[in-house]
Every structure is written in structure tokens, then in C-alpha cells.
């Protein structure tokens, strides 16, 4: 698997898209920091970018890579290699190279800006960790979609839909249901609702850092326990990890049964 990972990774590292992605983040980081000169504001803007854009790029890139490397995959399938290692290797190659673009692209401008001397370093690290998690989750989801759809157009369609649903529509439905059932105690429901969507989950992690003052204004005991202690942080990370593991598990399962 490591060998496949290596080749997928190299393959991506020399593809134009990785550079575009890296350059985009570099530019974003530089613009935010050096034109704005406000680290806190930059971190908040970055948060918005990360929870929207990282999933989108992870999904699109994952689907694209899968379809584009079909030949490579078939070549590998004829070799004495385990199927699961082929797909996991490719998946990890994509996810790692995307995460690296993200971390380097944003990290370099921030380090140049003197992040290590700033108190924002924890917020910023959390942001990058969350971004990496989202990349791993959405690339895995993308691989799932691609594995289940031979048709490229359909695959892309589903991938975009998935993103649209998790990034926007889900929250709309979530908000509606909270308003409709406002007469009932909702804190458990709202936390569960958050756990079921990786984008919301990452957002919560970031809220824990940026908006803790506002979150503690709410009365619910479970809310308080969740946001007022490390409990929330731990649960969120566990949930994120589950969100990575489940789609990967399905990649392994699906790839075992698939014909090429």
C-alpha cells in the first residue's frame, strides 16, 4: 500500500492541479495577512474558507482523480497487489497531497507573518487540523461515489450534490427543524444533528475556539457540558475520526466486490 501511496502521491505532486491548489492557498494566506494586517480577522476568514472550500475541493478532486487514474488502477489490478491496498493507497495519496497543499499553502504565509510569536497559533493549528480532517473525509466520500458510479458525469453530479447538501441544504433543514420543534428541549438533538454532518462538526470545533463566549450563553446542561469542558473537543474529534473511518471502510468493502 505504501508503494501505491508513493506513486499516487508523486503522480499528484507533479500534476498541475496540486500546484493550483497550493498557489491558491498561498495567495489567500498572503492576501489575508499582509493586506489586512489582522491575524484574528484572517483566522476567521480562513475558517469560512476552510469549512466551505476544503470539502468542495476534496470531493471534486477525489472524484476527478479516481476517474482520471482508471488506467493506472487497471494496470495495478493486474499486478500481484491487494485490491484494498490499491484503493487505499490511491485514496491516501490524494488526501495527503491535498492536505499538504492546504497546510503548506496556509502555513508558509502565516509563518512568514510571525505566527509562532502570536497567541493565534492554537486557533490556527486547530484550523489546519480541521481542514486536514475535512480533506480526508470528503476525499473518502468522493472515492465512494466514484467507486459506485461507472459514469463519470453521474459521479461528478453526485459529488457536487453531496457537497451542496452537507454545506448548505443540511443546515437549512436543521435550522427549520429546530425552529419547528422549538417547544421541546433541543440541546441533545442539535448536538446530534451536528455530529451527523462533518462540515457542521468541524464548524463546531472552530466555534469552540472562536465563539465560546456566545455558546455559553445557552442554558441547556448538555450544551454546557459539551462546550464548557474539553468534552466537546474530544467528542468532536472522535466523531471526525469516525467520519474518516466509515467511508474508508466502505472503500475497502466496495473495492473488493467491484469488477474492472
Amino acid at each position: 500500500m505504501l508503494k501505491i501511496l508513493k506513486y499516487s502521491f508523486y503522480d499528484l505532486m507533479r500534476s498541475r492541479w496540486s500546484y493550483v491548489y497550493l498557489a491558491f492557498y498561498l495567495l489567500l494566506g498572503i492576501v489575508l495577512l499582509f493586506l489586512n494586517n489582522d491575524l484574528s480577522k484572517a483566522v476567521i476568514t480562513l475558517m469560512n474558507v476552510i469549512i466551505v472550500l476544503v470539502p468542495l475541493i476534496g470531493t471534486i478532486f477525489g472524484v476527478m482523480y479516481y476517474y482520471n487514474s482508471k488506467e493506472f488502477t487497471e494496470l495495478l489490478l493486474a499486478q500481484p497487489l491487494k485490491r484494498s491496498s490499491i484503493f487505499l493507497g490511491q485514496y491516501l495519496g490524494v488526501a495527503i497531497s491535498l492536505s499538504m497543499s492546504l497546510i503548506l499553502g496556509l502555513g508558509i504565509p502565516f509563518i512568514l507573518y510571525g505566527l509562532f510569536k502570536s497567541s493565534a497559533i492554537w486557533d490556527f493549528s486547530l484550523l489546519l487540523i480541521t481542514g486536514a480532517f475535512l480533506t480526508f473525509i470528503f476525499t473518502a466520500l468522493a472515492f465512494n461515489i466514484a467507486l459506485s458510479n461507472e459514469n463519470k458525469i453521474k459521479g461528478f453530479g453526485y459529488a457536487i450534490l453531496l457537497w451542496l447538501f452537507l454545506a448548505i441544504i443540511y443546515d437549512g433543514i436543521f435550522l427549520m427543524s429546530l425552529i419547528i420543534f422549538e417547544d421541546y428541549p433541543l440541546d441533545k438533538l442539535s448536538l446530534v444533528g451536528t455530529m451527523l454532518n462533518p462540515i457542521d462538526l468541524s464548524r463546531t470545533l472552530i466555534l469552540l475556539k472562536l465563539d465560546i463566549s456566545a455558546l455559553l450563553g445557552y442554558t441547556g446542561a448538555i450544551f454546557k457540558k459539551f462546550f464548557g469542558t474539553n468534552y466537546g473537543l474530544i467528542i468532536s474529534f472522535i466523531a471526525l475520526a469516525i467520519w474518516v473511518i466509515l467511508p474508508i471502510f466502505r472503500i475497502v468493502k466496495k473495492s473488493r466486490k467491484k469488477d474492472f
Binding site: D11, E71, L75, Q79, P80, L81, R256, D259
Partner: protein, 235 residues
């Protein structure tokens, strides 16, 4: 060498193989024939483990291939359509496959035979179909495995390379290897193969030598024999 029992495969509702029983003995060249869509490639891919059968057992060199990937060390495979990662150089591709399967020195000789030296530093995406097929052949033959599977090996080859390929196949046969070939070029099949298997609508219609086929169909030459099977069956 390869034994297949009661192999069934359908894609969605489309039945491709229905109850194929086949035993391929060690040594010799074995051709799998059949009209388009008769399941040749599916059969080969099943042996390679790329297609998962709905039913039936396949064993290669005495090993059941289900959930197994190690047996593929003993197979060299030449895929039908030579599609490679486009932004890889020929050299790198060869190096990579060696990295994945183990080292070998045979590639140097093969590169010479097919005059591929000028292309080694080119990206695969920039090669012509024929050149790609030559690379494909190098990759397939550079390992010394007891079983060689060639899916449409002649596609896109120029006459010189075709001759080289035939020589190569004969050498391997002389080395005691088992070679499974599919092809549409009947003259090629007739020239190289010792035994043929004819697939029709997902079943084995005929298995035996070419002369046996000629006798069975009462036709003077191989090409007509095949044609007669098809016309008789469609009539």
C-alpha cells in the same frame, strides 16, 4: 495450470458467462476465441481476479484465487487497451512496475527488441497507440512467470514488431510456459496456438485443436470454420 468450474458472471442483468468449465494444462499456447461480447475478456479478467464471479471457482496453479492476490505473482498480463497514467515517463513506469513486482533485468533486452530506447524519457501521454502497445508488451514479458495472459496482443503493432512478438511468444513456449491469448486476428491465432477454446453466449462451444475444429465444421481453413460456427448458430 488453470482450472475453472461452473463460472457464472452477469453485469447487472446482462449475463456474460453462464457455467464455464475449463481446464488449461501446463505448457503450450491456448487461444480464447469468440465473437464480440462473448465473454472472452471477462473470462480472462476473472482469472486475473479483476472481475469477481457471481458463482464458480477458479484456481491457478492449484491455488484458489478468491480473496487472494499472491497468485498473481505467477501471471504476466497484457491488458487489451494499453492505457497508462499520462504524466508518467516510460522509464518511470517500468521502474514502478519493477518496484511493485520485484526486480528483473529482462526489460533491457525487450526494450532493445522493440526499439523503445528513444521513447524512454517521453511521457506516456505523448506516445502513439503502437508504441504504447510495445511498452505494454515489455511490461508483460519482463517477468519470468509460468503463466502469460495476452489480451489482443497484436493491436496497433507494425509488421516488424508483430514478428518480434511472435518470436517472443515462441521462445516463451519453448521455455515451458503456459500462454493464454485472445485475438481477432485469425491468422495470428492459427499460426501460434496449440489449442483453442471457442466461447459463444457465455458458454464454451468448442475446445480442442484447430484441426479438430476444421473436421468438426467440415471447413478447409480455420477462418471459415469459425465463420461457419457463427452463421450456423445464428441461423
Amino acid at each position: 495450470m488453470v482450472s475453472i468450474q461452473n463460472l457464472h458472471k452477469k453485469f447487472n442483468k446482462n449475463v456474460v458467462l453462464s457455467g464455464v468449465d475449463l481446464t488449461i494444462n501446463e505448457g503450450g499456447i491456448f487461444a480464447v476465441l469468440g465473437p464480440n461480447g462473448s465473454g472472452k475478456t471477462t473470462l480472462i479478467k476473472s482469472i486475473l481476479g479483476m472481475v469477481i464471479p457471481n458463482k464458480g471457482d477458479i484456481s491457478v496453479l492449484g491455488e484458489n484465487i478468491k480473496n487472494n492476490s499472491k497468485y498473481r505473482h505467477k501471471i504476466d498480463y497484457l491488458p487489451q487497451i494499453a492505457n497508462f497514467p499520462n504524466n508518467l515517463k516510460v522509464k518511470e513506469l517500468i521502474k514502478m512496475i519493477k518496484d511493485l513486482r520485484g526486480n528483473t533485468e529482462a526489460d533491457k533486452h525487450l526494450i532493445e527488441v522493440f526499439t523503445l530506447e528513444p521513447f524512454l524519457d517521453k511521457k506516456l501521454g505523448n506516445l502513439s497507440g503502437g508504441t504504447k502497445q510495445k511498452v505494454n508488451i515489455v511490461l508483460a514479458f519482463m517477468f519470468d512467470s509460468p503463466l502469460i495472459i495476452l489480451d489482443e496482443p497484436t493491436t496497433g503493432l507494425d509488421p516488424i514488431s508483430l514478428i518480434r512478438l511472435k518470436e517472443l511468444i515462441q521462445t516463451e513456449k519453448a521455455n515451458g510456459k503456459t500462454i493464454i491469448i485472445t485475438s481477432h486476428i485469425m491468422s495470428f491465432v492459427e499460426e501460434v496456438s496449440d489449442e483453442i477454446v471457442f466461447l459463444l453466449e457465455g458458454k464454451i462451444y468448442f475446445k480442442g485443436s484447430i484441426s479438430e475444429l476444421k473436421t468438426k465444421t467440415n471447413q478447409p481453413d480455420f477462418e471459415h470454420a469459425i465463420a461457419s460456427i457463427l452463421t450456423n448458430n445464428h441461423a
